[in-house]
């Protein structure tokens, strides 16, 4: 039982760590590249405008998709590794 408990706690810690990592990228592309750091990226041209604009209207959405699939893939691995899957 004690083993089960610490195993489960480790699983949850790994999950929370993974979420923090993913949400850091999520915030970086949307609030960072697309909004707050846009003036810093103004020098990088993308098709008639700058990189910040591209992130705001395309790049952040594409990143979001990658993030969710990455999270799903890693979590399914963790489910198996900790023996907590269905």
């Amino acid at each position: 039982m004690a083993d089960d408990k610490s195993n489960a706690a480790d699983y949850w810690k790994a999950n929370v760590r993974l979420i923090f990592g993913c949400l850091a990228v999520w915030a970086f592309v949307s609030y960072g590249c697309a909004i707050l750091f846009r003036p810093l990226l103004a020098g990088i041209p993308v098709g008639g405008t700058d990189l910040g604009f591209w992130f705001a209207q395309q790049g952040s959405i594409l990143t979001f998709i990658v993030l969710i699939f990455f999270y799903a893939w890693r979590m399914n691995k963790l489910d198996q590794k900790f023996g907590l899957g269905e």
Partner: protein
């Protein structure tokens, strides 16, 4: 075949498809009715979620918002997609593991309190009802424009169709019709966009075409657009915004609001496993992104097309800007005007310069014209800029943003069947969202209010009947509100997102991520988030949106720290978290069985199908 016959054929065929699916997918049990039997494939569920989520606002209005606001309105794109990241990581898998039917189910059980359950039911109903009004009016507009029936008849037909498949099919019927509706709406949205991207840039993929070279002028499309709009006194299309705090908070509000909207969350209860809930969120975003990545291209290209329709000489390489501005298109002779000086549609559109699509849309009143300087030409520009040296006396052409998508095929001279497709697509977007919202409302009433709180002994049959009656009642209410939209229909979207983001989302997240959170903390937090958000919105938009009752004018100067009422949901969510943790840490910890429940939702093991208990 006339355009009307083509529209009728497309819309009629799509309706026959939805009804056919509804007959095939009748709900036999409450489990079928609430969660489609719990056996929906993650990709199917992703597609249904995309249709559920993409409403008349996404399909009809978003490209117009981008066209008029440019970069500044990117918040809608990021907010309405980024919410799925937090939904996939912070809510969906754990709520699926919890294995019940509704959002108030989780809040009531997790916070072991019927008060918490009741607050959740009220938040859910208010958020969903305000949201459904826009769907009914959106369907009414699409019907009246394309099928030449009155707005009232349009709304009644929409209500009847939804009634047929939602009441009999429940979640099962809704899920499979939403899949069909997604296919209809995404084809309808992308085909015109592909043609227009080809025409303007030679690149058939809109999301790439937007960043390619504009064929006619030889410069990048967005650079061309910036040149054209600034020549007319508008801000650069791609211009940065000054108030970054507000843009960040607005985006965040839309994200937490998206993640907290019950009709989206309950879609994740229909998949067989926890792992499927994770995959399904990813698929949902893929299907949503097909439209959301295309929308900015539709918006920017429509803005360029519209402007160069009025000023044909601005389209190519411009030698002399002033001359190009002065050779705008001419309009027909005007002999009578209304009180504001607007000309009747048949008069001003009666000139060979005026394109066919402007004639059609002028009849609907969504394009209005008045000749302010009497020069026989149309001037469309930023009315607050000074062009008096050109003899201009003000902006003469008012174009409703919603036209951008609906008139897109006509602007690009596409064949009649594409217009029929757009009609079916717009109606599909409105109906699929309306059905999802109505299911969320009816399950809150029949399952949470009647079965859990009032009469736990109700039989399965009785509960099904209650669910169908409350669904019918919800449709009647939505129809009534669609026919008599309160004057504040546009502002209520802020309310729906504010409530979902500031009350439901934090409560759900804390219920999963904090074992220590107790019922007192959660209830205090939900109420604090809800009340603070409502107070802030009503202060600027009027108490219950009644005009004239606002305490401060709704201008950026009056906003606290420049935060708009639409952006306050994110602040309300932070207040919710802060109050909940403060109250919870000052009161007793939750009982052991609740801590065990939190423990169990965190691990997929032993999930099983969604079950009633």
């Amino acid at each position: 075949m006339s355009q009307f016959a083509i529209n009728l054929l497309f819309v009629g065929a799509s309706f026959a498809l939805y009804i056919g699916i509804a007959i095939w997918a009748r709900a036999g049990s409450t489990k079928d009715f609430y969660v489609a039997g719990g056996g929906v494939h993650p990709i199917t569920n992703g597609m249904a979620t995309a249709a559920d989520w993409m409403s008349a606002a996404s399909f009809i209005s978003m490209a117009g918002l981008l066209a008029s606001g440019g970069y500044a309105n990117s918040s809608f794109l990021m907010g309405w997609t980024g919410g799925y990241v937090i939904l996939a990581m912070l809510l969906a898998p754990y709520l699926r593991k919890f294995g019940k039917f509704t959002v108030p189910d989780f809040i009531g059980d997790r916070f072991y309190s019927n008060t918490a359950r009741f607050v959740a039911i009220v938040c859910l109903i208010v958020a969903s009802v305000t949201y459904v009004i826009g769907q009914m009016t959106g369907a009414g507009v699409a019907f009246s424009r394309f099928l030449e029936v009155s707005n009232t008849w349009g709304i009644w037909i929409a209500a009847l169709i939804v009634f047929l498949y939602a009441v009999f099919g429940g979640m099962k019927g809704i899920t499979y019709t939403q899949v069909a509706q997604y296919v209809v709406l995404i084809i309808a949205y992308t085909i015109p966009a592909v043609f227009i991207a080809m025409q303007l840039t030679g690149n058939p993929i809109p999301m790439f075409g937007m960043f390619s070279t504009h064929t006619e002028s030889g410069v990048p499309l967005l650079q061309k657009l910036d040149e054209v709009v600034t020549a007319l006194g508008f801000q650069d299309y791609t211009a940065d915004v000054d108030n970054k705090l507000n843009m960040v908070l607005f985006t965040l509000s839309l994200m937490v609001g998206t993640a907290g909207l019950p009709h989206v969350i309950i879609r994740f209860f229909t998949v067989p496993k926890v792992a499927d809930a994770r995959w399904s969120a990813g698929w949902a975003l893929v299907f949503i992104a097909l439209l959301y990545l295309t929308a900015p291209a539709v918006g920017s290209m429509a803005r360029l097309n519209l402007t160069t329709t009025i000023y044909p000489d601005l389209a190519g390489q411009v030698e002399n800007v002033e001359e190009a501005l002065q050779s705008s298109i001419q309009h027909g002779e005007i002999t009578s005007t209304d009180a504001q000086g607007y000309a009747p549609a048949d008069q001003w559109t009666n000139h060979p310069d005026i394109p066919e699509w402007m004639v059609t849309w002028a009849e609907t009143g969504l394009i209005q014209f008045r000749d302010l300087n009497g020069d026989g030409r149309i001037q469309m520009y930023n009315g607050s800029a000074d062009f008096s040296d050109l003899g201009w006396a003000g902006n003469e052409l008012e174009v409703n943003n919603d036209i951008m998508v609906l008139a897109n095929p006509e602007i690009a001279n596409l064949p009649g069947w594409v217009i029929g497709l757009i009609a079916a697509g717009g109606i599909a977007a409105a109906l699929s969202t309306a059905a999802g919202l109505l299911l969320a409302i009816s399950s809150a009433i029949s399952h949470d209010l009647i079965k859990t709180m009032i009469n736990p002994k109700i039989s399965e049959k009785g509960e099904m009947l209650a669910a169908r009656i409350s669904m019918g009642g919800a449709i009647l209410l939505a129809t009534y509100l669609g026919l008599n939209p309160p004057g504040f229909a546009a502002q209520t979207v802020a309310l729906a997102f504010g409530i979902a983001g500031a009350s439901l989302f934090p409560a759900l997240m804390m219920g999963i991520f904090s074992k220590r959170m107790n019922s007192k903390g959660a209830i205090a937090g939900m109420l604090a988030g809800l009340v603070s958000t409502l107070l802030y919105i009503f202060t600027y938009l009027g108490w219950l949106f009644i005009p004239g009752t606002n305490m401060l004018a709704n201008t950026p100067d009056n906003w606290i720290m420049g935060i708009s009422p639409l952006s306050f949901g994110a602040v309300g969510a932070m207040i919710n978290f802060a109050v909940a943790f403060a109250v919870s840490s000052a009161t007793e910890e939750p009982p052991q069985e609740i801590q065990d429940l939190v423990e169990s939702v965190r691990y997929p093991k032993g999930a099983g199908m969604a079950v009633d208990h």
